[in-house]
C-alpha cells in the first residue's frame, strides 16, 4: 500500500456523557473508494464531520497527507483538499445549476475582497475561469440539460448530482459523500455508482462514502469500514466484510443470515 492520503487515528467524540464514536482508526489510500457502513446512530456522520472539520474530535486526530487537519475550521480543511457533500441535498436553492457550481469555485479565487468589490481584472478573469470549469464539471456529470434550471426546481437525483458538482468545483483530492444513493431507485443508483467510479478513474479523486445501500456499497467499494455503537468492528474488502460474523451480527443480530446481496 502506498502512503495513505488520509489517516484516521483513534478518533473519539464525546458529547457530555454520550459517546458518538470512540477510538476509530483506519487509513485511506490515494484513489481508493472506501465506504463506511453501520446501523443508524453508529457514529458514521459524526466521523464525516470530524474529518471535514465540522466537529473537533475529543481525542485522536485526522491527518491529510501527513498533516493534522482535525481541529481546523471546515473552510481550511476544504482549502487543503478535503471536501464534504451533504446527506440532505442542501444547495443554493435560489440559484441556477450553473450559478451554483460557479459560486462553489470560491476556493480557487485569487482576487482579494476589494478586488471583488471593484471588479478588478483578477476578479473578472477568475469569474471566466470559474465559468469554464463549471461548464466542464456540468458536462462531466451530464447535467447539460438542466444547466440553467433553478436548483429549487430539481428532482432528487439531479440534486444529488448537483451536490457532487459543488463538491467537485473546489477541486478536491478527497471527496466525502454522505449517503449518495439514499432515496434512489435501482436505475438511479446504478448511474450514481458509475459516476462515483468515474470520479476516481477520470478525476483521480479519493472517495469516502457513508451509505446504507448494501448492494451499491458492495459493488462500488475497494474497502469497507464497518462501525457499530461508535466503534470500528471490521475493515476489509467487500467479500471479507460480507463474511465477517461481527458485521452480520451488527446488522441482523444473528449469524444465521447473510447481508446484502
Amino acid at each position: 500500500m502506498t502512503a495513505p492520503i488520509l489517516q484516521i487515528k483513534g478518533v473519539t467524540k464525546r458529547y457530555g456523557g454520550l459517546t458518538a464514536n470512540s477510538d476509530i482508526t483506519f487509513d485511506v489510500a490515494p484513489r481508493e473508494i472506501l465506504s463506511v457502513i453501520g446501523p443508524n446512530g453508529a457514529g458514521k456522520s459524526t466521523l464525516f464531520k470530524q474529518i471535514a472539520g465540522f466537529v473537533t474530535p475529543t481525542t485522536g486526530e485526522v491527518l491529510f497527507k501527513g498533516n493534522r487537519i482535525s481541529g481546523m475550521p471546515p473552510h481550511k480543511v476544504a482549502r487543503l483538499g478535503v471536501v464534504r457533500t451533504f446527506q440532505e441535498t442542501t444547495i443554493f436553492k435560489s440559484m441556477t445549476v450553473r450559478e451554483n457550481v460557479i459560486v462553489a469555485h470560491h476556493l480557487r479565487s485569487k482576487a482579494s475582497l476589494l478586488g471583488f468589490f471593484f471588479g478588478s481584472g483578477q476578479a473578472r478573469s477568475d469569474e471566466e475561469d470559474f465559468a469554464r470549469s463549471a461548464d466542464d464539471i456540468i458536462d462531466f456529470l451530464g447535467l447539460q440539460a438542466i444547466r440553467n434550471e433553478m436548483a429549487s426546481n430539481l428532482p432528487q437525483g439531479h440534486l444529488r448530482a448537483l451536490g457532487m458538482a459543488i463538491g467537485l468545483a473546489t477541486h478536491p483530492d478527497v471527496i466525502l459523500l454522505d449517503e449518495p444513493f439514499a432515496g434512489m431507485n435501482h436505475d438511479e443508483t446504478m448511474r450514481m455508482v458509475g459516476l462515483v467510479r468515474r470520479l476516481r478513474d477520470e478525476r483521480g479523486l479519493t472517495v469516502l462514502l457513508v451509505e446504507h445501500d448494501m448492494p451499491a456499497v458492495m459493488k462500488i467499494s475497494d474497502r469497507i469500514v464497518c462501525i457499530n455503537f461508535g466503534e470500528k468492528i471490521a475493515e476489509g474488502t467487500p467479500a471479507e466484510i460480507q463474511a465477517n460474523p461481527r458485521v452480520i451480527e451488527a446488522y441482523l443480530g444473528s449469524e444465521d443470515a447473510a447481508i446484502g446481496m
Partner: protein, 323 residues
C-alpha cells in the same frame, strides 16, 4: 449596464436632486425637506440591516449603531473640535470596529437567537449612554455646531452650513447624496462575488463552509459594513438636530429599520429604500386617522406581509427572481 437600467438610474437621480427641490420650491412645503432627509438617512441605516438579512441574520439592533455613531460624531465635534466631515467616516469606522467585537461572539447565533441578542443591543446602547460621563447622561449633548466647511487645499468643496441661507436644502442634498452612494456600494456588493458568497451563507452556512468560504469572517465583514452605515446615518441625524440624547434612537427605531427591509423586499437591493419611503410617508399620511393611526398602520403591515411576503418590489418582478 443595460440602457434601460442606465435610464432608470438617471431618472432617479434627476428626481432626487432636481425634481424634489423644484417641487418644494413651487409648493412651499419646506417641511418636506425634513421628512425626505429623514427618509434618506433612515434608508442608509436600513441598507445596513438589509445586508445582514442578506447573510441570513435578522438584525434588530441597528438603532444601537445609529446612536453610537451619533455620539461619536457629537463628542468629537464638541470636545475635540473636529470638523464634522471628518467625524462622519470616523463615526462609521468606530461603529464598524465595535460591531466586530460584538459580532464575533453573537454572529455564531442563528435565527431567532441572533435576533433576540440584537434586540437587546439598542437598549444596552441607551443605558450605556445614560451611564457614561462622556455622553453626559440623560441631559445628552446639545448645541452641536452645524457642519463646517469642507475644503481641500483651500478649495471649498462644501461651504459652512451655518453661512447658508437654506441649510434644510443642504442637509437634504447631503442625505440624498449619501443615500445614493450607500445604495451604489450595496448594489456593487450584491452583484459581485462577495454578494454571491453572502447569498450562499444565507441559504446554507455549512455547505458554504465546506466549499471553502470563511463563513465566520464573511459574517463579521457584512455586519461591520452594516454597522458602518448605521453609524453614518446616526452621525448626520445628530448634525441636523444639533443634539443627541440616550433616547435619540430606541428599540422601536431598530424594529422600524427591520420593517423597512421587510416591506421593501429582502431580495431587492433597493427594497429598504422604498420600504423606508412608504412606511415613513404612510405613517404621516395616516395621522388623519387620529387614534386609529397605529391600528391601521400595523394592520396594513400585517396584511402586506401576508400578501406580499417578498416585499413590495416583488410586485414588479416578473420572474420572482433575485435582484
Amino acid at each position: 449596464m443595460t440602457q434601460s437600467r442606465l435610464l432608470g438610474v438617471g431618472a432617479f437621480l434627476l428626481g432626487v436632486f432636481v425634481l424634489v427641490p423644484a417641487f418644494i420650491h413651487l409648493t412651499g412645503r419646506w417641511d418636506f425637506y425634513y421628512t425626505l432627509t429623514s427618509v434618506a438617512l433612515l434608508s442608509v441605516s436600513a441598507a445596513g440591516v438589509w445586508l445582514t438579512f442578506y447573510i441570513g441574520r435578522i438584525n434588530i439592533g441597528q438603532g444601537a449603531y445609529a446612536l453610537l455613531g451619533g455620539y461619536v460624531s457629537a463628542i468629537l465635534m464638541t470636545q475635540g473640535g473636529v470638523n464634522f466631515w471628518l467625524t462622519l467616516p470616523l463615526a462609521g469606522l468606530f461603529c464598524a470596529a465595535v460591531s466586530v467585537l460584538i459580532g464575533v461572539p453573537i454572529l455564531r447565533l442563528r435565527g431567532v437567537y441572533f435576533a433576540m441578542v440584537t434586540l437587546v443591543l439598542t437598549e444596552v446602547a441607551r443605558l450605556t449612554a445614560l451611564a457614561l460621563p462622556i455622553t453626559n447622561g440623560a441631559k445628552g449633548i446639545t448645541s452641536i455646531p452645524l457642519p463646517g466647511e469642507l475644503s481641500i487645499f483651500g478649495l471649498t468643496l462644501i461651504p459652512d452650513f451655518a453661512t447658508l441661507e437654506n441649510p434644510k436644502l443642504a442637509f437634504y442634498l447631503m442625505a440624498a447624496a449619501l443615500m445614493v452612494l450607500t445604495y451604489l456600494v450595496l448594489w456593487r456588493i450584491v452583484n459581485s462575488r462577495l454578494g454571491h458568497l453572502c447569498r450562499s451563507l444565507q441559504q446554507n452556512e455549512e455547505l458554504s463552509a465546506s466549499i471553502g468560504v470563511n463563513t465566520a469572517m464573511l459574517r463579521v465583514l457584512a455586519y461591520a459594513i452594516s454597522s458602518f452605515f448605521g453609524g453614518l446615518a446616526g452621525a448626520i441625524f445628530v448634525a441636523i438636530s444639533q443634539s443627541i440624547y440616550p433616547s435619540s434612537f430606541v428599540v422601536s427605531d431598530s424594529v422600524n429599520f427591520m420593517l423597512y427591509c421587510f416591506l421593501g423586499g429582502l431580495g431587492y437591493v433597493f427594497g429598504p429604500m422604498l420600504g423606508t419611503l412608504l412606511l415613513y410617508f404612510g405613517w404621516d399620511l395616516l395621522s388623519v386617522a387620529r387614534e386609529y393611526q397605529l391600528l391601521i398602520y400595523s394592520g396594513t403591515m400585517i396584511a402586506l406581509m401576508l400578501i406580499l411576503p417578498n416585499g413590495v418590489l416583488s410586485l414588479f418582478d416578473r420572474k420572482g427572481g433575485s435582484k
